[in-house]
């Protein structure tokens, strides 16, 4: 057998070990190279882990991601020159999605920005973090300090029972339940200082916990001792985010795609759309006003054969796009995909075909998310 998975395996580079490397192996994880690290792709099995997360709570090790802290004089203005974010509306304790763009408006990365006291905390993708640090350092004035928290781990606890399980361990000035979607706060778990953001990458309610690397195994053990919590690998992380219609950097968006084509206009904050003044602003604003020629859409595929990244999309004999992410949806029991298609064929309900190894599979443009988001926005 041979694997023709399209994921980049950085096989030529030595792999780093995550803080929880031994912890994953002890729990029977199968480790694979990803973003320069050995990472757990699955423990029990992707479908079982996927379904567990949708019904209980899954613990994901996302310590490969980059945790950065920016501080210094004139911070907001300096960061607004680099990111299309409106920092005047980002209050202490709030987190927001943003985009690192190149001068042509192509996507270099997507990231989360949180307002800390006198600082901004960024979470960037693992595979791009070293490039991001270079881009940010180059673009930001010398007076802005950039700290890379490479001594911290990042754990995500996701699922409808995540809040119950985490509330038993998180102590803070206010209860965990006071955090709503895209808010964060400082807490302690087993005496360790952590920050907890109510966010994630599964479409479920959940949290991302930044913690000292040396406490990661202790805290992972504590959380997994809760009856609702199981460790979940990268495989289910990918199928969960695909069902949630969330883009994966390097696949669904790249320097060759603009955020407007990708439907990520919310990453360009309203004031910045009017004022510009960020990398790629000319193209982005032009596309907001004039539209784009293609659009990133969901596809539901008939039958059971999944269409993967790179599969070409047709309307009759016309080649009108390509799949950027695709796989089997455990929740729907059917294949789903995301694809860039020509605007003329992007309306929900449009019948298309996807070519998989010479077979034409019937597909229908579908609204996303494929599985409804269940974020906690307050009761």
């Amino acid at each position: 057998m041979s694997d023709h998975d399209t994921e980049e395996h950085l096989e030529d580079l030595p792999l780093d070990a995550l803080p929880l490397d031994a912890w994953h192996r002890a729990r029977g994880a199968r480790m694979v190279p990803f973003a320069g690290y050995d990472m757990p792709i699955q423990y029990e099995g992707i479908i079982a882990e996927h379904n567990w997360t949708r019904t209980n709570a899954g613990l994901f090790d996302v310590s490969h991601m980059g945790q950065l802290l920016l501080s210094g004089p004139g911070l907001d203005a300096a960061v607004e020159a680099v990111l299309p974010i409106d920092l005047s509306t980002l209050k202490l304790g709030q987190q927001r999605y943003s985009l690192l763009l190149d001068e042509d408006g192509g996507v270099l990365d997507d990231l989360m920005v949180s307002r800390w006291p006198d600082a901004l905390y960024l979470v960037v993708n693992g595979a791009t973090k070293w490039d991001d640090i270079g881009t940010l350092r180059e673009a930001l004035p010398d007076a802005i300090t950039l700290n890379h928290f490479d001594d911290r781990a990042l754990l995500a606890l996701q699922g409808p029972k995540a809040a119950d399980a985490l509330a038993r361990h998180a102590q803070g000035e206010y209860p965990l339940s006071a955090l709503t979607f895209m808010r964060f706060g400082r807490f302690t778990i087993a005496g360790h200082d952590v920050t907890i953001a109510r966010a994630g990458y599964t479409g479920e309610d959940g949290f991302e916990i930044s913690l000292p690397a040396e406490a990661a195994a202790e805290i992972a053990d504590l959380l997994c001792a809760e009856p609702e919590v199981q460790p979940i690998g990268l495989g289910a992380r990918d199928s969960l985010r695909l069902e949630a219609g969330l883009p994966l950097y390097g696949h669904d968006m790249t320097p060759e795609t603009s955020p407007i084509e990708a439907g990520l206009i919310f990453g360009i904050n309203k004031r910045r759309r009017a004022e510009g003044g960020f990398p790629g602003a000319d193209r982005i604003i032009r596309e907001i006003n004039d539209g784009t020629t293609r659009k990133w859409v969901g596809l539901k595929i008939e039958g059971r054969l999944p269409a993967r990244e790179g599969a070409e999309v047709f309307a009759g004999s016309d080649h009108i796009g390509a799949v950027t992410s695709g796989g089997f949806s455990p929740t729907l029991g059917a294949p789903i995909a995301m694809a860039y298609v020509a605007n003329s064929h992007a309306a929900p309900g449009t019948a298309l075909e996807v070519d998989v190894r010479g077979k034409r599979l019937a597909a229908t443009v579908s609204p996303t998310p494929f599985v409804p988001h269940r974020y906690f926005r307050g009761s």
Binding site: S2, I47, A48, R304, L305, R308, F328
Partner: protein, 123 residues
């Protein structure tokens, strides 16, 4: 009935002049949850080492090569409705296809059960 194994993690049962082919328990464990198996056409003549089937797991697609040269005589109809049979019964009910044996000598180069077990243990 002798059973042979390949270093691509396929098993081959030989009965009279027909070989039944599937993937090993080790292989299904590596692939994870299988959601679709694309089988060859009955009547197709396939050379040893050429693509014969594709196994789609949740995560990825993997090729299955013809372990020997021959003509496909039958495919496992149960895999269409229940591809997870490859996970639950890889070396029995989850067989892929049957084929003729064009060159018996190709079988001699394959591993027996003991040799395959040693091969997997060394991985």
């Amino acid at each position: 009935m002798p059973r042979y194994y390949t270093d691509e993690h396929e098993w081959i049962d030989v009965e009279d002049d027909i070989a039944t082919v599937g993937i090993t328990d080790y292989a299904q464990g590596q692939l994870g949850d299988i959601v679709f198996v694309e089988l060859p056409e009955v009547g197709a003549m396939i050379e040893q080492g050429k693509d014969a089937a594709v196994v789609e797991s949740v995560k990825a697609a993997s090729d299955v090569y013809a372990p020997i040269t021959g003509e496909i005589t039958e495919v496992n109809p149960a895999l269409e409705d229940d591809p997870a049979l490859v996970n639950s019964s890889p070396e029995e009910d989850g067989w892929f296809f049957k084929m003729t044996i064009a060159a018996e000598a190709e079988l001699d180069a394959l591993m027996d059960e003991e040799a395959y077990k040693a091969f997997v243990d060394a991985l």
